[in-house]
């Protein structure tokens, strides 16, 4: 017995082969049913009528317009929420002021609110039965059932994405680096660009990637405010619903496959950024101020 275990690590809790095998099998099985199967079924359905049918479905003018609208929405909403995230993180991590913790909680609120509630709420601001609706109509400004409404709903839903990646990291990094830069004579902008930003760039990008994925995939909030006008205010997720309910299953899945590819790319980017220290795994290890990922630059 003793000879057999020489040089091996003694077993930890749950290391017995039976437990190990059972758990791994169970987890892989459930994971395959719940997560992998949906991924596969999307592509199977998308190509069920063949490659040319897939191409035709994607090439439909309404689908192309939905893709276009989704991209435009992301191009507007993501930069705005990135700027907001950076400003918010700078304010709440580099300064002490009364209400600071409350502000952090408020910034995170959209994350916990049902997208439907967000959509309905926007209706009561800019809709005809809302606060500014009549005035907007009088001035002939269209916000709801048009691009601005879609962008606003997307902004609400994804407002916390960049901030919530930056805040814990910048909190952990403290203020020493900025104080050091300032004591050496650097201006505020200079300090931000050459000291703060380089040290949070992966976390920032991480937040941007997640924000973008959510903007492009948002369904509930946008479906309330967009009006679902085919070829005009239908974003890609809304267009998928429309096709699906029209019994154009292959077309719906073809459109869905585009968003699925986006999701897969997002996950790959996420993993790559996590290796560079962004995201959840970094929050503990980056707490020490002078530690950076080894081998980042030779």
């Amino acid at each position: 017995m003793s000879a057999a275990v020489t040089g091996k690590k003694p077993p930890r809790v749950g290391d017995s082969p039976a437990v190990r095998r059972t758990l791994i099998t169970l987890v892989l099985l459930v994971g395959a049913v719940l997560v992998l199967a949906p991924l596969i079924v999307i592509f199977v359905q998308a190509f069920s009528l063949g490659l040319s049918a897939f191409a035709a479905a994607i090439g439909q003018p309404d689908t192309l317009h939905a893709i276009f609208l989704t991209v435009v929405t992301a191009l507007i909403a993501v930069p705005i929420n990135t700027a907001f995230g950076v400003a918010a993180a700078w304010a709440v991590t580099k300064f002490d002021f009364p209400g600071r913790r409350l502000l952090i909680v408020i910034i995170e609120i959209p994350f916990s609110i049902s997208p439907i509630v967000a959509g309905v709420a926007y209706l009561f601001v800019y809709g005809l039965q809302g606060l500014f609706g009549p005035a907007l109509q009088a001035a002939d400004i269209k916000i709801l059932f048009a691009l601005p409404g879609i962008v606003l709903a997307s902004l609400f839903v994804t407002a916390p994405f960049v901030a919530r990646e930056l805040i814990p990291l910048m909190q952990a990094q403290g203020r020493d680096l900025e104080e050091a830069a300032t004591s050496l004579g650097a201006s505020g902008w200079r300090t931000f660009w050459s000291v703060t930003l380089p040290n949070v760039r992966w976390a920032l990008l991480y937040g941007v990637v997640l924000c973008n994925a959510r903007v492009m995939g948002e369904f509930g909030a946008v479906s309330v405010v967009s009006g679902n006008i085919r070829g005009q205010t239908n974003t890609l997720p809304l267009h998928i619903e429309l096709l699906y309910h029209d019994y154009q299953t292959a077309g719906a899945f073809a459109a869905a496959s585009i968003l699925t590819v986006l999701a897969v790319v997002t996950i790959i980017a996420k993993v790559a950024l996590e290796r560079r220290g962004a995201g959840r795994r970094s929050r503990v290890s980056l707490a020490a101020p002078n530690v950076i990922a080894e081998g980042e630059k030779p």
Partner: protein, 339 residues
């Protein structure tokens, strides 16, 4: 550059960190701010740097009122406790940063030459292309110093400069910092909680407690003539005995120790372990040895007086003393404060 603090006050929320501190540091002087944690020493240093603003009082650099000058324009070199080296910049880039952001424009070659010069000064030639994560703690400390010196500061401020280093590195760096400071002649203040470090390094030591200066003076003054029980205890191991002052003297086990200027009555007598002598018999406080600890340069004897008071004393290594021995203690020197 001479520095003067005049009745400086700093309050954090409800907690008062610094209570009206006044202090003068002569040009070229090396001064230690020494105190336990929470004594306000780092806050004072940060106020001199402009990293905190005083709530009251004034800070002068030379004859100029610097109280409101922001840190960017104050012209101080600040070495942070954990160095705050920019992790994404090389050692060279860290040192060059202050020159690059300066209003005084310097050419690239000028900056490079200055970086090389500073690397040589802090004995890190050839490490300019390393990242902070690739060098040792002691090396980081020296990079932090070089970075602070690169902008030709009028004043050098160091916050617990050796706090994060192990003992051997710490001793080396201490000697070296003293050399550099003398070579540059720059007015320097540093904060420490380590009395040995303060006494080793500084021309003058300022001892703080609870946001106030309790004593300042040369290492000799504060060690030989501590003005309070707090300073006495803070500067090193000491024994506390109860005594009775009468006629400028205190009687301890048959020997009289001078207590000049102490009013008659009860007094606390502080005696350092090295200021006690062990004898087998004769005049003195009788004591029983409870333990003997051997150290490289002396033996520390733990003993108990007749009234149960625990006493520690240092005797020469060759002294023969064993647990259970009974003998007498003679007091050579003591600091006495009215109780």
């Amino acid at each position: 550059m001479k520095i003067r603090l005049d009745q400086v006050v700093k309050t954090f929320d409800t907690f008062r960190a610094v209570h009206g501190v006044s202090l003068e540091v002569a040009s070229g002087e090396l001064v230690a701010l020494l105190g336990p944690s929470g004594s306000g020493k780092t806050t004072i240093l940060r106020m001199i740097a402009g990293l905190e603003f005083a709530d009251g009082g004034a800070i002068y650099f030379g004859d100029q009122d610097a109280t409101a000058i922001p840190v960017r324009e104050r012209g101080v070199g600040f070495v942070f406790q954990h160095y705050a080296l920019f992790p994404h910049m090389t050692v060279g880039e860290n040192i060059a940063f202050g020159m690059k952001v300066s209003k005084v424009k310097r050419s690239k070659s000028e900056i490079a030459a200055r970086v090389d010069e500073l690397l040589k000064l802090v004995r890190l030639e050839g490490l300019g292309n390393r990242f902070p994560s690739q060098i040792s703690g002691g090396q980081r400390q020296r990079v932090a110093l070089a970075r602070a010196l690169a902008v030709d500061p009028k004043v050098l401020l160091l916050d617990e400069p050796f706090g994060a280093l192990d003992a051997a590195v710490r001793r080396d760096l201490r000697v070296w910092l003293r050399e550099i400071q003398e070579q540059l002649g720059i007015t320097t203040l540093f904060v420490t909680h380590d009395q040995e470090e303060a006494l080793d390094l500084a021309d003058r030591v300022v001892i703080l407690s609870e946001g106030k200066i309790v004593q300042e003076g040369t290492p000799e003054e504060v060690t030989r003539r501590p003005n309070s029980a707090f300073v006495t205890r803070f500067l090193g191991d000491t024994n506390r005995l109860q005594g009775q002052v009468g006629g400028g003297q205190v009687q301890l086990g048959g020997t009289a120790v001078a207590a000049p200027g102490i009013r008659d009555g009860k007094a606390d007598v502080y005696v350092r372990p090295a200021d006690l002598e062990w004898a087998v018999e004769g005049e003195g406080l009788s004591a029983t040895v409870t333990r003997v600890i051997d150290r490289p340069d002396h033996r520390r004897v733990l003993a108990k007086l007749a009234d149960g008071t625990q006493i520690e004393l240092d005797v020469p290594p060759e002294t023969r003393v064993l647990r259970g021995d009974i003998g007498v203690l003679r007091v050579h020197r003591a600091n006495i404060f009215a109780a």
